[in-house]
Symmetry: C2
Subunit: 274 residues, 2 copies
């Protein structure tokens, strides 16, 4: 009887403990969500009317309908070494959409991946083109939020210095000007073609799939991309699907910043299966 | 004898007068050229290192090799009513390359043309896309110099309000984002298709020919465009030529800002022949 009582008491205690833990987790999650919402909301309330057309990340993450995207950034990852040992090259030029680079890179780093930022070799156009490049452009690439320049990112290597064997995956962010610049760089196009032949992962979001069109690796492939370039992708031989993310063999593509979470997880899953 | 002398004197005087006038014009032209060079040079000397990658017009016009482009802007036109009665629609959205719009428009206006700025109907993306549009975006479109936002241009009408019969020609400037925005606007694409059917002039520079690709009017046509989009133009059925300006039937295209003079004159010549 004593033993049975003990078992019952122990059982009830453990059930209560589990319930209590769940309740605590629930409260904590709600608190976290409330806090996060408030922080973004306050930040947005503190901003005046934008001077130019742009895309502030705090607005994107706090917009109704983007709760899953917000959760993606504000939920700690389960396994911080899931991508340990995986090496990812981010190929990027001036005019990249900030969140489309920093979002996936932030996530891959959280999972222990090794990231290298790779830019085209610094080779500014001749004076005739009237372009003004600050000194920083020799070592950094410029981020935008839609039409607003917002910052600089230091690159680790240039496209003429990299080999296919250096990386497990290649990832190209969007922004209209960034892929526009990349697709004209011979080193970048050659590298993408060689990387594709190796069967390793090539991931591209938003306007970035035009680089794959220039590399002529889209014939017979299923993919997606920003609406405005979908006709170019079709004309390059691809079959365009209207989905947040499309995985076809070694090519993963997404449409725009809202797809960053699905895109990043698809890259993670692909690399985990290898 | 007296009469003959008078005639000779009068003749010499008038010859001298002509020579003198020519000399004055020459001196004046040289002075003007010197002044113009100096003004651009001084303006460029007064500017510090650019904060972002951009394309200042004063650098473009003053660069060695661009003398013809500079002359285009600093030589008064011969006939200020050459294009009188001609009505040109400039179709443009946020992110247009400033000189590619203001250059040709300035020239067409000098020749007496009637210009209307036409933008897509104001229809901002839903909150989910995180975009921030200032109030000004309801009545203006935003100019860039490469990656640098530089100003706003008021538009006269929106693309849902215009008819083919309203204009003698349509002109689309470049900038990566501007044509990217235009090609997704149904009113713009429908208008370009109808305008093409009418056989009236469609002129597009730099990245703008992608709008013609989206309108699917490039099959079997010769054209040119910015290098980075040339593969898209080929994939859309066009034959791309590496020339400052290509006129094929009712389509005139150019590659980049340096071609603004040749582009504008080709539009002028086309309209004069009509």
């Amino acid at each position: 009887m004593k033993t049975i009582n003990k078992i019952i008491v122990a059982g009830i205690t453990s059930v209560l403990a589990v319930l209590n833990a769940e309740a605590q987790v629930k409260v904590k999650t709600n608190e976290m969500k409330t806090n996060y919402s408030s922080e973004l909301e306050v930040v947005n309330q503190l901003s005046t009317q934008s001077a130019v057309v742009n895309m502030p990340v705090s607005k994107l993450l706090n917009a109704p309908g983007n709760e899953a995207l917000k959760d993606f950034f504000f939920t700690p990852p389960k396994n911080t070494s899931a991508l340990k040992g995986k090496k990812i090259a981010v190929i990027v030029a001036d005019g990249f959409e900030e969140i489309e680079l920093t979002g996936p890179v932030w996530y891959f780093k959280q999972l222990g991946a090794d990231i290298e930022i790779v830019a085209p070799k610094y080779n500014p156009a001749t004076e005739r083109y009237g372009l003004a490049f600050p000194e920083l452009a020799k070592t950094h690439v410029m981020a935008i939020q839609y039409l607003q320049p917002v910052g600089w990112l230091k690159f680790d290597r240039t496209a003429d210095q990299i080999k296919v064997s250096d990386y497990d995956a290649v990832f190209i962010p969007g922004g209209a000007w960034n892929p526009d610049n990349l697709r004209y760089d011979k080193d970048v196009i050659k590298f993408i073609q060689d990387f594709n032949k190796s069967g390793k992962l090539i991931a591209a979001i938003c306007h970035a799939p035009v680089v794959l069109a220039s590399a002529d690796i889209l014939k017979g492939r299923k993919l997606t991309g920003y609406w405005n370039i979908q006709s170019d992708l079709k004309n390059a031989g691809g079959t365009v699907l209207e989905q947040p993310v499309v995985t076809d063999g070694n090519i993963i593509t997404s449409r725009h910043p809202i797809d960053v979470a699905d895109f990043s997880r698809a890259v993670e899953n692909w690399l985990l299966k290898k």
